[in-house]
């Protein structure tokens, strides 16, 4: 859907923000750009909606060189959540969200309906928040409005630059979960920027790890964890690589089917839960094994040894 082909960006002051970067974002997936501050994540993202023009190389959008596209049209079709949120404080929440639909000339009823729907989705009911100004909202609420504004005109592609940055860990985790749910409904291609590995592993189908100005590894979360390409990636992931692996591995991958044996009488986990949750439950209950249930029906068992096995590359997935 979006393809970077040997792209280099050098700013007017001589800073080379990214150098010779190539990767492709597949339709319907979430690709996360992650790396330390100043490594060129925002620069990469702004190349997509042409807020920045590449110095060398080409960016393709659905196979077309984006330079061939009208930049204003392009931007209206691509949702953009900017790093600094950038809400229009002089407008109400409702007007903020309605920005792009209005620019696109939707009729009033459709805009009103869409704004209502989105604010509902973001847990900011329009009756209560619609007429407030962004200055009256909390940080988390502002970020939600930023996301709603970007989603407003049903974009096929969303660019999200640290949309949940500057939030406390709890609110952040909540927003991440909510967004994962929303995303499942929306079917939209997402390019997501963060400098948190945890967030990258949680949100991404694919992860692009940046060192200063260069793309070091572009892979699935599992592969990044299992086969870090070099010391930089290994350091970046951190000492707790095994724990992080538990985070990105669903129980489904490590359970085995029951053969009618008796299972300990503890709360079951779901196949979609993470291995981390299963391990935590095991530590709490001291049971050694856990039932796995889908819709109340036991479908399998997960054992402590299997969870450990996630660290064993030879077992990979069952």
């Amino acid at each position: 859907m979006i393809e970077f082909d040997n792209v280099t960006k050098q700013y007017d002051d001589g800073t080379v923000a990214i150098e010779d970067i190539s990767f492709e974002v597949e339709e319907g997936t979430t690709t996360v750009l992650v790396g330390p501050s100043g490594c060129g994540k925002t620069t990469t993202m702004k190349l997509v909606n042409r807020l920045i023009e590449p110095t060398e190389g080409t960016v393709y959008f659905e196979g077309t060189d984006i330079e061939q596209k009208d930049e204003i049209e392009l931007r209206r079709d691509v949702g953009y959540v900017i790093q600094e949120i950038g809400l229009f404080d002089h407008m109400t929440v409702r007007e903020n969200v309605a920005t792009v639909p209005k620019l696109k000339g939707w009729d009033d009823d459709r805009i009103r309906e869409r704004v209502r729907e989105l604010l509902e989705l973001m847990d900011l009911p329009v009756e209560e928040y619609g007429d407030q100004h962004p200055t009256e909202l909390s940080g988390g609420q502002r970020q939600r409005v930023g996301v709603a504004r970007a989603l407003a005109a049903d974009p096929d592609v969303m660019l999200m630059d640290e949309p949940f940055g500057a939030l406390d860990p709890i609110t952040r985790a909540e927003l991440q979960d909510e967004f994962l749910d929303i995303q499942a409904e929306l079917d939209v291609t997402i390019l997501f920027v963060t400098h948190s590995v945890e967030e990258a592993l949680k949100m991404g189908d694919r992860i692009a790890i940046f060192d200063v100005g260069e793309l070091v590894q572009y892979d699935t979360p599992q592969n990044v964890l299992e086969n870090p390409k070099n010391d930089f990636v290994r350091d970046f992931i951190g000492q707790d690589r095994e724990l992080k692996k538990l985070q990105v591995t669903p129980v489904r991958k490590v359970m085995y089917e029951t053969n009618g044996e008796r299972l300990p009488d503890v709360d079951p986990v779901a196949p979609s839960d993470t291995a981390q949750i299963a391990l935590s439950r095991l530590l709490e209950t001291d049971a050694g094994r856990l039932p796995v249930a889908r819709d109340g029906e036991v479908v399998g068992v997960v054992e402590e040894a299997d969870l450990r096995g996630t660290s064993d590359p030879t077992r990979g997935s069952i």
């Binding site: 702004k46 909606n49 807020l51 204003i72 049209e73 392009l74 931007r75 209206r76 953009y80 900017i82 600094e84 949120i85 950038g86 809400l87 229009f88 404080d89 002089h90 407008m91 109400t92 920005t99 792009v100 620019l103 007429d131 407030q132 100004h133 962004p134 200055t135 009256e136 504004r149 970007a150 660019l159």
Partner: protein
């Protein structure tokens, strides 16, 4: 405030009670009273009598004065806002224009009136022209600062969401800058009212007339009376422009405590009730109009 002004002027006059005896006998009768308190009281009484006796004339001077200022503003504000907007596109131009407007501002008004005299003659033209020139710095500067000071993230978000340059100017920068521009106009207006009084040296009319008349006829009461009228005019205009500024700020969702005038205007306009809940005790003028707020 106006009462203060009267008292203050009275006090100024009173300081010299005894000393004034050697000077021109303007304050003669008053100073003879001796006690400063009596002088102040006497002065206040005299000024009120002057108001009562010269009502129509004073109103006419006030009207002339306000028209001088308004004529200047009608040209000066659009001019200043346009210039202030243009210079946001070019830093060098901005430096030069702001520098020139600053220089304008330092030229003494008496000198400027004199400089405009050969080409514009006497009467109101040189004064209106001078007022226009003096308005430029506050208006250009505030427009420039207002437009460039707009939250950069908001402007960039606008760009990223697909607004054209003109749409960003119209929908983000101008609305956000308006209150700042307005406060520049407000500063300018207070200045203009005072300068226009000096305009009478080239025969502009307005409240300068009774002030000079009082000077020529050594009539302190007339000077004080005209000064009070001038102060009232300044305060009124300042308040009116303050209301406009506040309305812009409230519309932008700023958290301010609106004054009574602002609330009344918003109430009359049927605008959304102010989110800053007014205290109950001073809501009398607006209770009926802001009742929409639960």
């Amino acid at each position: 405030m106006p009462a203060n002004a009267v008292a203050l002027v009275g006090e100024l006059a009173a300081i010299g009670g005894p000393a004034a005896i050697g000077g021109p006998a303007v304050l003669g009768e008053l100073a003879a009273v001796g006690e400063p308190a009596f002088v102040v009281l006497g002065m206040i009484t005299e000024v009120f009598r002057y108001f009562a006796e010269n009502q129509t004339q004073l109103l006419e001077y006030t009207r002339q004065h306000a028209i001088l200022v308004l004529r200047a503003l009608v040209v000066a504000v659009p001019l200043g806002v346009t210039l202030g907007t243009l210079i946001t596109y070019n830093d060098k131009l901005a430096t030069v224009v702001l520098w020139l407007a600053g220089i304008m501002m330092t030229i003494p008004s008496v000198a400027l009136f004199a400089l405009l005299l050969p080409s514009l003659g006497t009467g109101s033209p040189p004064v209106v022209m001078a007022l226009i020139l003096y308005t430029q710095l506050p208006v250009i500067r505030n427009t420039y600062v207002g437009l460039t000071g707009v939250d950069e993230a908001a402007v960039e978000a606008g760009e990223g969401l697909g607004m054209t340059k003109f749409q960003r100017l119209r929908k983000i920068q101008i609305p956000m800058a308006l209150p700042v521009v307005m406060s520049g106009v407000r500063n300018a207006v207070v200045l203009l009212v005072g300068i226009a009084a000096i305009g009478e040296i080239v025969g502009s009319g307005g409240l300068g007339v009774p002030i000079f008349e009082g000077y020529r006829s050594s009539n302190t009461v007339e000077i004080v009376g005209a000064t009070v009228a001038l102060a009232l005019l300044t305060l009124t205009i300042d308040y009116a422009f303050g209301v406009v500024e506040q309305v812009f700020r409230l519309r932008n969702g700023e958290e301010i405590q609106p004054n009574l005038g602002t609330r009344a205007v918003r109430g009359l306009a049927g605008a959304a009730p102010s989110r800053v809940s007014g205290r109950d005790d001073d809501a009398d003028a607006t209770t009926t109009t802001t009742s929409a707020k639960p």
